[in-house]
Each structure stands twice: as structure tokens, then as C-alpha cells.
Symmetry: C5
Subunit: 354 residues, 5 copies
């Protein structure tokens, strides 16, 4: 949770629309790259500055400008000037603690969401803010660091697979959202498998560690829910607004990813239910195990208690204790103890006390 | 849960609308069969290819084309071309991890849902994806494997029972949905009976196994809920859209199955509540049982403790211990022990400690 | 719960609208009775067949036809023909597993709900399906067996009390719903009193049986909720539809019973909350009682443990054990034991350990 | 809860609109009092009958008629005739088990709610039904017994404070609702203070009695919620209906009490959460306390167990037991026992077992 | 909770709109200060009375009047007269127990909310009521005491940073709300960090104190929720009303803080979930720890029980007890005891009983 809000502390006291990067600087230099395409041709290049795009951009092309690294306020400010972006939009791009949302501006659509990645080392999900600005013929994307899940989209652009080359930047935006939601589902599945493994582990060998793992998974699921639920709302809102930037025939595709987002959100709820059930199961198993041990030990003790007492009786030093003086009384004594022990065992067994 | 999302992994990175089968291949060859009917005649045949239907289809007939097996992308692609289906629709048919949903296209209505079957061997519910495409005079259905719950509908078509022969493919679609929801309810009832048996079992003989069964039933109910809830939403949506493909006089029938879906969804919630109550009952019984054993054993031990102490006192080797030397002191000693034991028993009994 | 769905199994595979009775046959022969009334006169008779009503019915009268017993498909079919009822309506009448609902047809309003009765022998609520079909001048009712809660209404019709004789069949339908909801509230109150008694019982004498009773009440409340909630929705829907069969001045009366249904549904929720609170109370009392016993017994044992040890020390056979040989050491020994016991008791008491 | 529905039993079987008092008769005779006022003058008198009001009422005045005691059906029937009230309205007035609600009639607005009072003797909240009928120039109120929370309003009327003298009966009705909601909040605060005291008590001295108090508070809160929630809905509905009886400039005042009702309802929810938290706290404290006792006693017992065993070994009567015969073996024996005890204590302490 | 309602007690019985301060008097004298600004100039001064503003106010300026201290009813009444404020508005300003809300009046918009501050000494959040009245060219704010979170806004006004100097009082109101929500988030973050620390503490060293801390945090979160949720609703409502006082281009900024309020409300929910999880974790750890101790001690006791019994057997004084008389029987006896102890240890270890 705290992973989300931490930035606001830094923001406090600044005037709205002030362009200060808030977040963790993840790379040294910002990288600007541009892809231009139409049905017939494809061009990919890396730029020094956003404003360079003016020199390269051609009218009969769609363009996708991607910026990696949000701490270069110069680059963002340039983009703002160049594409006439609202100051609040720019501020949202640079403040990496945004809740996923969609905003309509006069000249563009703006959506923020989070790209998720499972960090193998830290064993937890890490996220990166992805801002998308959709214009008539242009798509701007802003990420915190290089490396994303969009390579398949780039590949499809290059190789002219599917309709992405012909369909305009709204379809491109859809393609990006599509790969993002796919990565969500992949991460949920991965966690889901771990959760299911944990259930077997709990059944086989319940331990305090399992309990802590359950709690860790719950935290992870809470984090995913915080990322995915508002993202789903964003996509549903995208379907409902009536904005020319979203072309008619992109709508069915957006419906499709709305379904996927819903599926992801429901999967999270299901796993949360499973984790709660597992905690109950764990507690129940632990209690049963403890009860089992205690019952066995208590029965064990209970059998010796009267035996020890009887031995104590014949250890007394009374002058007149007739049983002590018979020839076989020791052996009778042992036999009686044995009989008592056996009949108690039988009695407890019948009562199902162990 | 994971049974639902597993496929998305394979999907990742493909372009939208790509026709690749995602799922478990359940049969070798795909089977295409066609039923043509009108009020007066009925014709049933098996085809080599979807496009063959062109040769056989007659204008004054309604037709039902069924495809078993979704891995033959050639067949699906042919169907797509032949009936002018949207690429997303085809993709949804071939990806067996769909969430039940309804989609309106220009020329047809498309709905996906899941057929459920209780697998006697694995002792769990398995599901198969059913895609229905409704045209003016034609119904297309796609299933993962041969064998379905539709034989009664085929029988009614053959034998001209009810209004199915006269009422058009929307009524036929209704009939299919009706048998599907009937099978849902049958499975819920079956699980419901097992759950009620489990309750008696818990009352008679609570054990860790019962706890694990409760959890297994919960998982099963979660799975059913995932299948049935969106299916109910789908049917309710079907009632609300105003589409000519749904004829006026089919609406009351659809209302009827909307009720059945709701009933099924409510039954699942009720059983989930029952399972939670059973878990509480189980925990309460286990605790009571344990408490009972512990109290009895502790009372038992408590009675011997002072007796053993007294025997210990007369086992001491003090030179001057007057009681040891009287004639009857051993018998008095025994009598006193007996008295103490009895009065403790009475005391504990009165305090209701056992 | 299963009490609700059981019938669907029989239904499976039948074509929609097939007139087969599904339920438990509760009487031998179906009974058809007819009441005709207007402001001035009243006539009551028993018919052999529904179609007989044609002979007796008079234009200037309102009529109420009641059928007891739903297994006589001939009678129902006749009714269907005679009054031009939709096949689905007839099927719903004969299938006794209906969820309470309201349906508008071209010529009539149809509502199904459940009459509840507390079975003194089985100690649980049993229900019977009541179907009401409302026409312009006629009310049809169908019940599973003779005996209902409508005698006060009949009495009011006979004795011309209130406005029922002048107000048309919609008001009559309201009167029937009114007595039904009154019987709901009566049953809830009855259960409510038992639940409140149970609370006193738990406080006085908590036992496993109380826990099982709580669960039984919960099941009963779940069952009532399943009957009453959709019935309330039905009445609310009745208020909202704009159908000429419901006369303007009947609306305030329907609002009144909508309030009563809401009150009943809320009462059920309150009792469910109370049952949950009682379960917590029960568990808490049981734990406290157990803790109390265990603490007393453990303190009791703890006091004897050092005493027995000291006795053991003087029971050793060391050649040189000086204390054994003094004149009064036995009495000193006893005094010391007594002192130890008393000081331990005081210590434990102060620590509030018992 | 049962405090609410109890009356319905009596109602069962009566025809709707029958004027029979249902409730507990709280006073002997019904009291009718009338206040007439306008901006300039004020007149207060007690009437023998409602119809007397005709003689006294003046056209240029607003009037407030109050009836204490609902069992005088003659008085209520007179009121009904005199002011042309709907039979259902009259029935609702006389049946003291009403759920708070608002109803619009042709000539008046009718609202029922409950006045709450904390009964010092029974230590629980008791309620009285308050019915308000609002006409153009007249306000009727019906209460179960004399004594209410409206004296400040009467005082303001007498002393011409605020706008109540000039603002018409809708503002007067608002003033009454305002004092009612103030009394709600006062009672909630009072309970709230007791609940907060209970928390300190639980921390200081947890006992079974505290648990029962928590449950009693929960019941009380449930009762308040049943009274206040529908009353809040009533006020919100009052804001939404467009009825001329509510003058334009009374609306802001009604909004104000809608806020107060909401605040009261939220306070109840907060206290319910607090009670749940307190129950968890109580259970946790009890378990910890028990665990603490058990651990201390068990450690205590564990220390003596090996000591007693060793004493037992030297109490055996073996002929050849060398240790027994050394000069100082008894003292060595005592020293060894002491050492064992101390080292066990240290071990347990380190393990934090007590 | 009680922190919220306490004032209503004092209010009881007063007529609506009566101007009496209800709350805790926090300063001696009320302080009135005025800021006037437009794009070009800025003027700040402290006034003796609200009405003084008339003398200083200039037409071509925007003005912000701030009052610290709500107990000076004279000042508030003057403000009311001077700016023509509705009596209810004035009453709400002076009653410091308001639920955050927005109200539209003819000439102004009025919103109340709470400023939060973490009191380092009392270790809990304290709040102060902030009332904002928005006119065309004027903003009035009322606070309980001097000292607020608005200094950055004043600084921006002075230094002409951002658009606050040019944008009118609606933007100024936004700026104030913005700093308020920032302070909310700061406090939540602070508590959030403490909560996360608590989790580590519980894992490292679970104690009753941790449990009480969890409960204290829960109370704190409940309090924050009570302040923030209605404030969020207020901002959302502000976006929806169509009032000229909110200029078109302020809307995006308000959307922005609506997001922040939502984020804050969601963070609270997340922390509440975390606290519940922590309580479960705590209970689970405590139970495990206790179980661990009990198992070790019980195993320890169980090993000595048979040994003590055997020693008891050889402590009996039977005349004929052959084992006592062999040369090495004592050593064999010791060896046998040792063997028994070791084999029991191995057995228990294998059974994983400790």
C-alpha cells in the first residue's frame, strides 16, 4: 500500500501543475524513441528531444513517441509545449504515484495505469507508471524506465501483422493496453500457482512460516487489486465516453480488454477468498494437531497416575501392612498394576480419547 | 480458479484476432453436423466442412450447424469466411478461457458460456466452452468435444414436440440455454446433497478430513459461481438489448431461464453460507470434544494427586511418626484415601466439571 | 435450500411448456371452488371442473376460482384453454419449485409465491406454492393442498366487511397477499421468540445442543429469506408496473404490504445477526468455562506438587539424614507442608489465578 | 427486535383499514390539545374531542393538534372523519408497530417515526410511535402517551423565538423532527460513552459479564438502527418528493436534519464496529490471561517433576545402592536438586516460557 | 467517534439558526485577516471586524477573508449581515461538530470539512473545523484556531507562483482543498508507516500491548474515515453541480483532488484490512507460541512420569521383592530408566510432538 502513496509527501506544498519529478529515479538519461508507420511503410528512430519529432514527422503517417525516464523535466516540458498538453496532465505524468485513471482533454485523451512485473529477486510485484496520451494521429507514451511488455506490438508493427499498421493510434493504444492486461493476468496466474502450492504445503506441513506466507500473498493481492481495479474502471469509462479519438471499429476490441480486466479483477477476488479459506484451514489443522498431541500425552500421563499412587501405598512404612508379607504379593501387585493400565487403555480407546 | 485463466499465458504476445486454438485438444478430428428443419420436415446430416453447408442449405428451412472440436483452425476460419464473422468473435471461439458474455455484432448475436459436467473419476466439475452464434435463420454452435446435453432438444426437433420446429433459431438457442441451465441446477443439487450429507457426517464423526472436504466444496462452489454468475448476467443482458434476432414471442421464454439462472446463482450463495456455518460447527464440535477429554482426564488426575501425596507422607522415614505404629492405621489410612477421593468426585460433579 | 430446487431434476429434458406436475402429490383429488360476489350478493360453490365456471359465472359479478391440488394436469389444462393462459404460465403453476416472481401477460398478471406454515411435528417451516392469476373481473388461485390462510378473507367476503366486496379482484389479490405476509410475520415472530429463549438458555446452560440449535435456526432463517426476499421484490415490482389490472385506489394498499414485506425481510436479517452474536457468545462462554475448570484444577495440582516432592525427600533411604531423627521433626514436617500449601494458595489468589 | 413486530399477531385476520388499537395501552384517557398561532398571536388549549377544534379554529391561524394516547378509537375515528383521512392512514396511526415511513395522500403528507427515550430503570431504550399528518395550515400529531421532547418547540412558539411562528406547519413539522433527531443523537452519545467506558473496563478487568454487556449493547444498537435508518430514508424521501405542502424555504432546514439523521446512522455503525473490535479484544485478553496462568503453572510443575523423580530413586529399597551410605550424600543430594531447579528456571526464562 | 457528536448535546433545545458557539474555545480573541489580490498586486492586512472589509475591499480585486476562532458570535453575526449569509449557514459555521458537506445557497457555495493534524503529545489525530464560503469574487474561511496548512498557498499568492493570482476565488478554494487533502494523505502515510512497523514488531515480539495498539490504530482509522469519506463525497458533488461560481477551467483541478480524496479513502480501507490481517496474525502467533511451550513441557513431564512410577515400585516395602537383592540391580535399574527416557524422546521426536 505504502508503495502507492509515498510520493505525496514530496508533492506537499508545491503549486498545482508544477513540473517536478516525484518518484525514484531509475535510469540516468531519458530516452526518446519514435515509430512512424502507415499501411505501407514503417520507420523507427531514436530522438534526442521530443521537439525533434517535428523534423521527422510526416503527415501521412501515424506516429508513436515513447519516452523512457520521467525525471528529465526538460523533456516532459518540451513535450508539453510541443503538443500543447494541459499542465495537470504533465504533472500527473511526472508524479509516479498516480491512481489509474482516464481524463479527457480538449485535444487528447490521457490515461495512466501501471505496468506490473514480478521481481524475481525481491519476490514481489513491482510496478512502473505508464502514461498514454492519445491524439488523432499520434500516440505518446511515458514510462519510468526502459524495458516494457510492448515488444510484441512493435514486432507486429514491423512485420505488418494484424490490423495495427492500418488502424490508427487508438488501435495502437488498445494493443498496448492489451499487452498490459495480459501481463496482469500472467502475474496473477503465477501468484495463483504459488498460492495453490501453498495449500498443499499447509496440508502436508503446517507451520508458522505458512501463515506468514499467506499474509504476504494477501498483501500482494491487495497491491494488485489497487492497480487493476481502477484500471478496469478506466477501460469501462473509455467505452462509455463518446470521443472522436476512439474510432467506431476499435470499440469491439476495447470491449474485449474490458472483459480481460474484469476477469483479472475477479481472479484476484477469488484468490483472496482462497487465502482466507487457507488461513482457516491452517488454524484448524494447527489446533487439531495440538489437540492430538495433548490428548495422547494426557492419556499417557493419566495411565501412570493411579499406578504411581498404588506403588506409593505400598511404600508406606506402616507397622501393620498385611499385604507386604505374603510370599507372592509383589507379583500380584505387578499384575494388578498391569491390569489397571490395560483396562484404562481400553476404556480411553473406546471413548475415542486418543 | 486457475482452471479459467490458464490459457492466457499462451495467448500473450499474439496479435488480436489471430486464429490459434488455445486450450486442451480433446478429440482428434473436428466434427461438423447440420440439422435443417421447418414446421413440416426435418433433415440431419454430417458435413466434411462448414462451407459444404452452402450446398445443402435450403431457403425455407432453419438450420443448426454444430462443430465439435475447436482446434481445427481451418474449419473455424472457413466458418468465419462463409458466415462473415468478426475476427474477435472467431478468436473468442478458439480461446477456451472465455468468461461467459454476450456480444452484439452487425449480422449476428454471439454468446459464450460453459457447459458443466460432473466428472465421476476426478470427483470435480469439469467444463467445456460453448459458443453460440445466432443469425436470422441459422444457429451456429461450437463445442470443445463431442457429447453434450442437447440430445433432448434434438429429440424434440426430430419428433416435432413443442414449438421448437416452428419457432426459429432464437427459440432453438433458448432451448439450448435451457438445457444448459438445467444441467447447472442438476450439478448444484448433486453437490448440495453431498454438502448436506457432510453436515450429518460432521455431527456424527468430526475429523480433519471433513474440514478438508468443506474446503474442497468451497472451491467447487467458487468455480461454479465463476461460471454461472456471468452467464446469468449474459441472459439478463439478452433480455434488455433490443435486437431483431430475438423475436418478440421468445422473450417470455428467456425471462423464464433468467429466473432459473438467478435461482442457480442464489443456490450457490446459500450453499456457500451453509459451508461457512458447517466450518464453524466443526470447529465448535472439535473444541468441545477436546475440552471434554481434557476435563475428564484432568479431573481424574486431580483426584489422585492428594492421595499420592498422603501415601508419600507415610512413606517418609522419620524415626518418630506415631501413626505408623497403631494396629489399624493402614486400614484407616486406606479408608481416609477412599473418603477423600469420593468427596472430591462429588465436589467436581456438583461444580459440573465433568 | 434443497427444498427449493429438488424438482428441477424431474424437469430436465422436458420441452418448455409441457404440462407435467413436478412436486410432491399432497392430496388425492383436485378441488375446484368458486366464489362470486358483488357489492350486493355473494355466492359460493364447489365445481367439478374449471370449465363448469362458464355455466355459473355472471357478468355483473367478480369471481374467485380456487384450485387445490396441482397434480391434476387435466384441470390445469382446462383452465389454460378456458382462460387462454400462456403455456409457460401453466408450466410454472404445475412446477412447485418456483422462485417467487411476477409476470405480465397480455390478458393477465401472474404471480407466484410461497405460503409458509410452521409444522409442529417436524419442527420446521414447510411451504406450499401459491399461484395467483389476476384478470379484469376474475382471480384464479392455485394451491398444492387444501387448507390455507385465506379464511379471514372469505369471511370478510361473506359478511361484507371492509371494501373487499366492492373493490374488484385486484383488491382481493391484495387481501390474499396481505394474509400471506401476515403469516410470514407470525412465523418469524414465533422463531424470533424461540431464538430469544435460546439466548437465555445459552447463558444459563451452554451445551453442544445449543450450538446445533443455532445452526438449525440459521438454516430456517435462510429458508425464510429465500421465500420472502423475492416475494418482496415481486410486490415492489407490482407497484412499479403500469398495468390497468391494478386499479388506482388499490395502490396505497399494495404500498402497505410492500412495507410489511420489507419489515419481514429486515426482521430476518436482524435475527440472523442475533444468531451470529449468539454463536460468538456461546463460544466465548464455553471457552471461559473450560478455562475456569482448567485453572482451578491446575492450581489444585500445583499446590500438591512441592508437597509430594518434600515427602519424597524424607522418603529417601540415606544413612545420614539428620532431620529424620529429631523427636518432633514429623510434626515440623507436617507444619511446613501446611505452611507451603497456604502460602501458595494466597499467592495464587492474589495473582487472581483462580 | 421483537419489540417491533409483536403487534402484527393481533392484526392478523382483521380487514385492512379496521380501526383497532394495537399496542400497549399506556395511559387511561386520551388527551387532545391544540395550539393556534400566527406571527402576532398564540393560543393554547386542551380539547375534549378532535371535532371541537372546528369551533375554535380560526382561518388566519396555523394550528397544531396533538393527541396523546392511541387506544381511544373514537377520537381517532373522529379525526379521520373531520380531516378526511385515508383509512390506511388511520390504521397506521393506531398500530404502534409501524416501520418509519413517509406517505403522500391527496390532501396531506403522513409520516410515522419513533421517539426514543432511555429508560433509566430498565436500562434500555424504549420507544413510542409518533405520527405526523401535515396539511396546508394544520399539523396533526399522535403519540402513545403524554410527555414528549417537544417542549422546546412549544416554548419557541410561545415566546416567538426564531421563525417558527411565521413559517407554517411544514416548518413546525421540521422543528419536531429536529428535536426528535436531537434526542436520537443524545441517546447514541449516552450509549457511546457507556461503550467507551466498557472498553476501559475490559482492559482493566475482563470478565464474562463484559462479554454479556457487549452483546446487550449490540442488541441496543440494532434496535436503534431499526428506528433510525428508515427514519433517515423517510427524511431523504421528503426532500425528493415535489409536494406543495413543503414550502420552498423549508427545504434547507430539512436538508440540515437529513444530515443529522445520516450522522446518527453513521455513529451507530461506528459503535457497532467498536463493539466488534471490543469483542475481539476481550477474547484476545482472556486467551492471553489463561495462557499466562497455564504457562506459569506448567513451568512450576515441570521443575518439580525431575526433583520428585530423583527423590523417588533414592527412596528405592535396593540392597546395594552405594550413594545412600556416604556421610554427606544427603546434602549433596539436596544441592544437586537445588542446582537442577535453578538451571531449569534459567533455561525456561531464557526461552521466555514464563 | 464521540469526538464528533459531543456538541449536539449542547445544541439540544435551541431553535434552528440560533448563533451560539458549540465546541471547545481554543483561543482568546478571534482574528480576522484579509488578503486582496489580482494578477498585478497583492495586499495582506489584519482587520478588527469583518465589516471593516467594506472599507478596504476594492472592486478589481479578489479577496480572501479568514477568521480564526469561532466563539466570537459577534464577528460571525457581522459576517452574516455583511455578506447576507443564510442563518443555517452561520449556525453550521459555529457548531464545530459538522459532518463534511457541501451546500448551495442563492448567493454562495458553502462547504465544511475538517483539517487534520497529528498531535505528537496525545499521539492521536486531532481535527479542526474548516468552513469555506465561496462568492463570485470573495472567499470566506472560518477556522477554530490560528495555525493552518495554508501557508504554501499564501506564499504562492504573495510570490505570484502558478495561476492562483489570476484564477479567481474558486481556484483559491481548490488550492485550499488541495493542501487539506495533502495533509490527509501525509497523516495516513504516517500512520501507515507506524502500522507497518507494528507488523514487524508483532512478528518479532508479539505481546498484549501490540493487540491494544492494533485496536488504537483501528480507532484512529475509523476517525479518519469519518472525516475523509464525506469530504470525498463533497468534492464529487462539487464536480456534479452546475454552479456558475465554479469556473469552467477550475473543473480539471477539482477532478484532480477528487482523485486524491478517493486515493486517501482507499488507503484507509487498505490499512484497515491490514490491521485485521495483523490481528489474525497476532492471534495465530500467540496460539502457536503457547502450543509450543505446552508441547515441550508436556513432553518433558511425560518422560518423567513412567520413570517416577518405576522408582515408586522399587520403593515399596514388600518382604519378597527379588530384584532388590541382586548385586547390580540398582545400576540395571538406572540403565533401564535411562533407556526408557531415551526411547520416549526418540518416539516423541519422530511423531514431531516437539
Amino acid at each position: 500500500m505504502a508503495r502507492f502513496l509515498k510520493n505525496t509527501d514530496a508533492r506537499k506544498g508545491m503549486h498545482p501543475g508544477s513540473l517536478v519529478f516525484i518518484g525514484k529515479k531509475k535510469i540516468e538519461d531519458c530516452i526518446v524513441s519514435m515509430i512512424q508507420y502507415n499501411a505501407d511503410s514503417f520507420d523507427e528512430q531514436s530522438l534526442d528531444e521530443i521537439s525533434d519529432s517535428a523534423r521527422f514527422v510526416r503527415d501521412d503517417f501515424f506516429a508513436w513517441l515513447n519516452v523512457d525516464g520521467l525525471h528529465c523535466s526538460e523533456v516532459i516540458r518540451n513535450a508539453g509545449k510541443h503538443f500543447n498538453l494541459h499542465p495537470l496532465l504533465l504533472e500527473d505524468i511526472m508524479n509516479t504515484g498516480q491512481r489509474p485513471k482516464l481524463e479527457e482533454f480538449d485535444n487528447c485523451l490521457f490515461f495512466v495505469l501501471r505496468m506490473l512485473r514480478f521481481d524475481e529477486q525481491e519476490k514481489r510485484t513491482v510496478s512502473e507508471q505508464l502514461s498514454i496520451v492519445l491524439f488523432e494521429n499520434l500516440l505518446l507514451t511515458f514510462q519510468e524506465e526502459p524495458g516494457d511488455v510492448f515488444d510484441p506490438v512493435r514486432e507486429r508493427l514491423r512485420k505488418q501483422k494484424g490490423r495495427v499498421r492500418t488502424a490508427g493510434p487508438d488501435y495502437l493504444a488498445y494493443s498496448l493496453l492489451d499487452t498490459v492486461v495480459d501481463s496482469y493476468i500472467e502475474i496473477i496466474e503465477r501468484l495463483g500457482e504459488d498460492i495453490e502450492d501453498l495449500e498443499s504445503e499447509i496440508l502436508a506441513n503446517p507451520s508458522q512460516a505458512a501463515m506468514e506466507k499467506i499474509n504476504a500473498f494477501k498483501r500482494e493481492m491487495n497491491y494488485l487489486r489497487k492497480c487493476i481495479r481502477p484500471a478496469r474502471d478506466m477501460v469501462v469509462q473509455l467505452l462509455r465516453i463518446d470521443n472522436d479519438l476512439i474510432r467506431e471499429n476499435t470499440i469491439p476490441f476495447l470491449k474485449d480488454i474490458a472483459d480481460l480486466f474484469t476477469q483479472a479483477a475477479e481472479a484476484i477476488d477469488t484468490y483472496r477468498d482462497m487465502l482466507n479459506d487457507m488461513m482457516n484451514l491452517y488454524n484448524s489443522i494447527m489446533t487439531n494437531k495440538m489437540n492430538d498431541v495433548m490428548k495422547h500425552l494426557t492419556v499417557f500421563a493419566a495411565i501412570f497416575i493411579p499406578l504411581t499412587f498404588i506403588a506409593g501405598v505400598y511404600g508406606t512404612n506402616f507397622d501393620h501392612l498385611p499385604e507386604l508379607h505374603y510370599q507372592y504379593s509383589y507379583f500380584i501387585f505387578l499384575a494388578v498394576l498391569f491390569l489397571i493400565a490395560v483396562s484404562m487403555l481400553i476404556y480411553f480407546k473406546r471413548k475415542k480419547w486418543f
